[in-house]
C-alpha cells in the first residue's frame, strides 16, 4: 500500500509537471533561430534595386518612401566556419535595406525576407545620414529605438555627412562595420578628435532638455570609414544644422576638456620647424558670470603633456626657454582651434553645443530659468574669454643636449 501511495503521488506530480511544460515555454526562442542585428543606417528614402524588383512582382504595402533603413545582420555561420580554419570568402555580415516610413514596420518587414526574425538586443550603432537628419526631427526618427524593449540604451548614435548606408559597408571580409564604428569610438584616449560616445540613453536626456548637441560624424569612402568631425543638432528643431570639421571638433574637445589623449601639432616660431605635443591630461573649467542682462563666460584650460616630436633639436639656444616657447606655440594653436569653433557654432550657427548653458544652469540657476527657453539666441550675445595653459612635463626617451639641463 505504501508503494502504491508513493507511485500515485509521483504520478500526480508528474502529470502536473507535464501539463505545466506542455503549456509552457511561451516565450522560448532559441538564439540561433534569430538574427542579431548590430547596426542600423538611416537615409533618405531611395528604393533599392531588389526592392524595386520585389515590388514589381507584387511585394508592396501602403507606405511613403520617407527613409531607407539599412540593417546590418550578423551571419555567424560564416564567422564560425572561418574560426575553424575553413577559408570562407563570405562576409560575416549582411546588409538588408528596406524603404518606408515606420522604422518598426521596416524591421518587421525583414521577417518576410529572412527565416530568422530580427532581434535588437545587440544593436550597437545607429548611423543617420545627413539628408535625412537635415529635414527630419531626429527625436522622431529615433523614437522606436528609445521605446523598444529589446534595444539597449547603450547603443551609440552617429551621423554621416554622406549616405549612412556607406558606413555599414567594408572592404575587408573580416570586419563587421558596426563593431568597427563602435570600436573607433573607444579610441578617445589616442586622439582628441572623437566625441565622448553618445548613447541612446544619453541622447534621450539631451532630447528632453532641449539643448543643442553634437553627434560624431562618420564618413566612408570605398569601404573605408573614418571619424571626421561632428554634426551639430539644433536643440529646438532637433534637426541637423551643419558639420564641424576635424580641427573644429578638436577645439570642442579642448574647450570641454573631455579629451583623454591626443596631440597638438605646431611649429616653432623661431625656426619654423615641426613640434608635437602629446596630451597626458586635459582639464577645462568654465565659469559663468552674470552682470545684469550680460552673460559672459571664462574658460580656463589646463593640460599636461610631453614633447613627443621635435625637429628643432639641434641648436635650440636656451633650454628651459625653448620649452616655454614650445608651450606658448602649442597654447596658441589650441586657442586658435577654440576660437575657430566658437566662431563657427556661436556666431555662424548660433547654437550652444559646448556646454556653456550647463555651466550657467549650475552656477546661476535662477538666471538659467529665465533664459533657458531661448538659450541658443541668448548665447549668441555672450562673450567668452579663454585662458589656455599647457605644460610640457617631459620630452620622451631622448635627451636633447639643447633642452636637457637648464
Amino acid at each position: 500500500m505504501n508503494c502504491t501511495s508513493y507511485s500515485r503521488s509521483l504520478l500526480i506530480s508528474l502529470i502536473f509537471l507535464g501539463i505545466l511544460f506542455l503549456t509552457g515555454c511561451w516565450s522560448s526562442n532559441e538564439i540561433d533561430k534569430l538574427s542579431v542585428y548590430v547596426g542600423v543606417a538611416l537615409d533618405t528614402g531611395k528604393v533599392t534595386d531588389i526592392e524595386n524588383k520585389l515590388e514589381e512582382q507584387g511585394g508592396r504595402y501602403p507606405k511613403k518612401d520617407l527613409m531607407t533603413s539599412t540593417i546590418q545582420i550578423l551571419t555567424p555561420q560564416a564567422a564560425g566556419a572561418a574560426n575553424k580554419g575553413g577559408q570562407s570568402k563570405q562576409k560575416p555580415y549582411a546588409n538588408i535595406s528596406e524603404t518606408g516610413d515606420s522604422l518598426f514596420e521596416m524591421i518587421r518587414e525583414v521577417s518576410l525576407r529572412t527565416d530568422k526574425p530580427l532581434i535588437g538586443h545587440h544593436l550597437k550603432v545607429v548611423v543617420i545620414g545627413d539628408d535625412l537628419a537635415r529635414n527630419n526631427n531626429i527625436e522622431h526618427l529615433l523614437d522606436f529605438f528609445f521605446r523598444d524593449n529589446d534595444i539597449r540604451p547603450s547603443c551609440l548614435v552617429f551621423m554621416s555627412s554622406g549616405r549612412a548606408i556607406e558606413t555599414l559597408k567594408s572592404k575587408s571580409p573580416d570586419d563587421v562595420p558596426a563593431f568597427k564604428i563602435a570600436g573607433i569610438a573607444d579610441n578617445q584616449y589616442r586622439i582628441s578628435k572623437i566625441l565622448p560616445p553618445m548613447s541612446l540613453g544619453k541622447l534621450k536626456g539631451e532630447m528632453q532638455s532641449g539643448s543643442s548637441f553634437l553627434l560624431q560624424n562618420v564618413i566612408s569612402a570605398n569601404g573605408e570609414m573614418k571619424f571626421a568631425g561632428a554634426a551639430v543638432i539644433q536643440g529646438k528643431t532637433k534637426k541637423l544644422l551643419g558639420f564641424l570639421d576635424e580641427q573644429q571638433l578638436n577645439g570642442v574637445i579642448w574647450l570641454t576638456g573631455k579629451g583623454k589623449g591626443g596631440l597638438v601639432k605646431s611649429f616653432d616660431e623661431m625656426m619654423g620647424r615641426l613640434i608635437t605635443y602629446e596630451i597626458k591630461s586635459m582639464k577645462s573649467t568654465i565659469h559663468a558670470y552674470v552682470d545684469g542682462n550680460d552673460i559672459s563666460f571664462r574658460a580656463v584650460i589646463k593640460s599636461e603633456g610631453r614633447l613627443i616630436e621635435n625637429w628643432t633639436a639641434k641648436g635650440a639656444p636656451s633650454k628651459n626657454k625653448f620649452l616655454r616657447r614650445a608651450e606658448k606655440a602649442f597654447e596658441q594653436e589650441v586657442e586658435q582651434m577654440i576660437d575657430e569653433v566658437l566662431k563657427k557654432t556661436q556666431k555662424d550657427m548660433g547654437v550652444d553645443v559646448l556646454g556653456f548653458g550647463n555651466r550657467l544652469r549650475i552656477e546661476h540657476p535662477n538666471t538659467w530659468e529665465k533664459v533657458k527657453r531661448d538659450w541658443d539666441k541668448t548665447f549668441r550675445e555672450a562673450t567668452v574669454k579663454l585662458e589656455v595653459k599647457l605644460s610640457i612635463e617631459d620630452y620622451g626617451a631622448i635627451i636633447d643636449s639643447s633642452i636637457a639641463a637648464d
Binding site: C25, I31, V36, V38, P76, A79, G80, D150
Partner: protein
C-alpha cells in the same frame, strides 16, 4: 461611472484562473499531507503485528540430562550446517562434555589451546569432596579454576544459547551441570583500518572506520584520553539484531539533543538494519526533502570534531559509515582539511566550494534561460559564437542539455558499476569520444559541452556524496524551470529552494544555520574559516553545555 467600473471587471478566464490559483496549491498540500498520514497509519499497523510474533516464543529449559540436552541442541541446530559439535571427556574423571561452535566465527586457537586443553589434558583432579556435588563438578570450580577465558556467560535455555553460538561464542555442556557455559570466542574477520575511500584527504589521519563496531568505538576512544566520551549501546532490528552505539561528549552535547536521538532510535521498527543508511532514513526529520539531514562519514577525525562541537554520532555494527546529527547545510560543505591546512587556503577552498555548488546546480539552467529566452543578456561576441556553434543543432536548448546531462549521469552510474581497471577507459570513451562526436554530429553545441563539463566537475567538488546527489537532482528541476520561465523561472526556483531550506530542520537545528538567522559569532566558521586563534567558542547554534573551547 457604472460603465467604467464594469469595464474594469476582468473576464471569466481570470476568474477561472483565480480558482486554479487556490486549487492547485491546495491539491499539492493535500497530496503531501495524505502521503504523511498514510505512512503514519502504516507504521502503526506494523507495531501491532510485531507484538503478536513475540508472544509465540516457546521456552525450552535445559534439563540437566546431558544426552537429552545435547540431543535437543542438535535438533535446534540441525538447520545450521556450520555448527559443529565436539564431544569429549573431561580430564581423568570421565565426565562427558561437549562444545558447540560455529566454524569460522569462533577462534580456532582459543578453542584448541585453551578450552579443550584445559578441560582435557591440563585438568587436574581437585580434592574430591569439596568440589563435587552428587558426583558432578561444581559450576564455580569450572569457572574459577579451569577455564582461562576472559568472558563466560551462562545460559539456561536453548533460545538463550542459540543466538550467542551463532554469533561466534562457544557453548560448553558438561554432564551433570544444568546450565551451559557460553564462552566468548568470537573472532569474526574484520577489515583492517584503511584509508577511507569516499573521503580522501591530502593532509590528515589516514584511518577510516571499518565494519566492526568494536573497532570503530575503539578508534574513537583511541583518539585521545577523554573520559567524557560517552558510548551508549542500543540494539536495532527486530529479527536480526544489531548493535548501535550513540557517541557524544557528556559535558558538551545538549541533553535535549541526546534524548531526542535516543528517542528516535528507540522508535526504529524494522526487522533488520543492514546499513546506517536505514537508520538515517528512520531518524531524519523530513523524508520528503531532497536534502540529507544526517551527515555520514567514514572518518574518525571528522566524528571527533563533530562530537567536540556538541553533536551526536551514531555508529552501527557492520558498516563503516557513521552518522552525525544534527547537521546543517554549511557543515556538509566542510572538510576536515579546512581546519588542518592554514586558515587562508581553508577559507579560499571553502568559498570555492560554495561557488562550485552554485555552478553545479544552476549552470545548465542559466545556459538554457539565456539561450532560449534572453539572447539580450549575453555579451555580443559570445552570442555570435554561440549562434555559430549552435547553428546546426536541431534541438531547443532544454532538449540539447537534457541529452548531454542524462548521458553524463549514465556515464557516472556506469562508471560506478564497472570493475576498477575498466573505469578510466570508460571515462575516456564516454567523455571524450561521445562528447566530441556529438558536437561533430551536431547534436549538441560546443558551448554546452563546456557548460556541462564544468557542471559535472563542480558537482564532484562537493565533499559530501549525498549532498552531491541532491544537487544532481536539483539541477534537472532547475533546467525545467528555466525551460518554462527563463531567468524568471530560475529566480523562482532559487526562491523555492531557499524557502524549503529555511523550513527544514535537522534534529531541531535549522538546516540553513548559521547563515540564517544571523549568528555573527558562528560566521567565523561558515563561508570563511577564521584562524583557530579566533575560534574560541563552540558553535552557538548547537546550544552546547560548555561553550568555551579555549582561552
Amino acid at each position: 461611472m457604472w460603465k467604467s467600473i464594469v469595464a474594469y471587471i476582468p473576464d471569466w478566464k481570470v476568474f477561472a484562473l483565480s480558482l486554479i490559483a487556490a486549487i492547485i496549491p491546495y491539491a499539492i498540500y493535500k497530496t503531501f499531507d495524505w502521503i504523511r498520514t498514510a505512512d503514519k497509519m502504516k507504521s502503526g499497523e506494523s507495531m501491532d503485528s510485531n507484538q503478536t510474533t513475540q508472544a509465540q516464543d516457546p521456552n525450552e529449559w535445559f534439563t540437566g540430562d546431558f544426552a537429552k540436552d545435547l540431543e535437543a541442541v542438535r535438533h535446534e541446530m540441525a538447520r545450521h550446517s556450520d555448527v559443529y559439535f565436539r564431544e569429549f571427556q573431561i580430564g581423568g574423571i570421565g565426565l562427558k562434555a561437549a562444545i558447540v561452535f560455529v566454524e569460522g566465527l569462533s577462534d580456532k586457537n582459543l578453542i584448541d589451546k585453551h578450552i579443550m586443553k584445559s578441560l582435557m589434558s591440563d585438568y587436574e583432579e581437585c580434592p574430591k569432596d569439596r568440589h563435587r556435588t552428587n558426583g558432578n563438578l561444581s559450576k564455580e570450580y569450572i569457572l574459577n579454576k579451569v577455564l582461562s577465558i576472559r568472558k563466560v556467560d551462562e545460559a539456561r535455555r536453548i533460545k538463550e544459547m542459540t543466538p550467542k553460538v551463532l554469533t561466534g561464542s562457544t557453548a560448553l555442556m558438561i554432564e551433570g551441570l544444568q546450565d551451559i557455559f557460553l564462552l566468548e570466542t568470537s573472532n569474526g574477520k574484520s577489515r583492517n583500518i584503511e584509508e577511507p575511500i569516499s573521503e580522501g584527504l591530502i593532509r590528515g589521519p589516514r584511518a577510516g572506520f571499518n565494519e566492526n563496531l568494536c573497532d570503530n568505538t575503539a578508534l574513537l576512544r583511541r583518539d585521545g584520553e577523554n573520559p567524557s566520551l560517552s558510548l551508549i549501546k542500543f540494539q536495532v532490528g527486530k529479527r536480526e539484531k544489531r548493535d548501535l552505539v550513540i557517541a557524544y561528549m557528556e559535558d558538551i552535547a545538549e541533553t535535549k539533543l541526546v534524548e531526542e536521538v535516543k528517542r528516535r532510535i528507540r522508535k526504529i521498527d524494522i526487522d533488520s538494519v543492514p546499513e546506517s543508511g536505514y537508520v538515517e532514513q528512520f531518524i531524519e526529520d523530513n523524508y520528503l526533502s531532497l536534502f540529507p539531514q544526517v551527515q555520514n562519514t567514514e572518518r574518525p577525525d571528522r566524528v571527533i570534531g563533530a562530537l567536540m562541537e556538541g553533536r551526536v554520532a551514531i555508529l552501527l555494527d557492520g558498516t563503516p559509515f557513521v552518522l552525525i546529527v544534527p547537521v546543517t547545510f554549511s557543515m556538509l560543505l566542510q572538510t576536515p582539511e579546512d581546519y588542518y591546512e592554514r586558515w587562508i587556503p581553508g577559507t579560499l577552498f571553502r568559498l570555492l566550494r560554495y561557488f562550485a555548488v552554485f555552478v553545479s546546480f544552476l549552470a545548465p539552467a542559466l545556459y538554457i534561460s539565456f539561450i532560449s529566452f534572453h539572447p539580450g543578456l549575453i555579451p555580443t561576441k559570445l552570442a555570435i559564437s554561440i549562434i555559430g556553434t549552435r547553428g546546426i543543432v536541431p534541438f531547443p536548448a532544454i532538449i540539447e542539455a537534457l541529452i548531454l546531462e542524462i548521458s553524463i549521469e549514465i556515464l557516472r552510474e556506469a562508471g560506478l558499476r564497472l570493475p576498477k581497471p575498466v573505469g578510466p577507459a570508460m571515462g575516456i570513451v564516454g567523455g571524450l569520444i561521445i562528447g566530441e562526436a556529438a558536437v561533430q554530429a551536431g547534436i549538441v553545441s560546443q558551448i554546452l559541452v563546456i557548460v556541462i563539463a564544468v557542471t559535472a566537475i563542480s558537482s564532484f567538488s562537493i565533499p559530501h556524496y549525498s549532498l552531491g546527489l541532491t544537487f544532481r537532482i536539483l539541477r534537472f528541476i532547475g533546467m525545467f524551470c528555466a525551460a518554462v520561465f527563463g531567468l524568471y523561472g530560475v529566480i523562482l526556483f532559487f526562491l523555492l529552494l531557499c524557502s524549503h531550506l529555511v523550513k527544514l530542520k535537522s534534529f531541531g537545528l535549522p538546516y540553513a544555520s548559521p547563515a540564517v538567522p544571523y549568528r555573527l559569532s558562528d560566521w567565523k566558521d561558515f563561508m570563511i574559516r577564521m584562524p583557530l586563534l579566533m575560534m574560541k567558542r563552540r558553535p552557538k547554534m548547537m546550544h552546547t553545555r560548555n561553550p568555551i573551547r579555549k582561552g
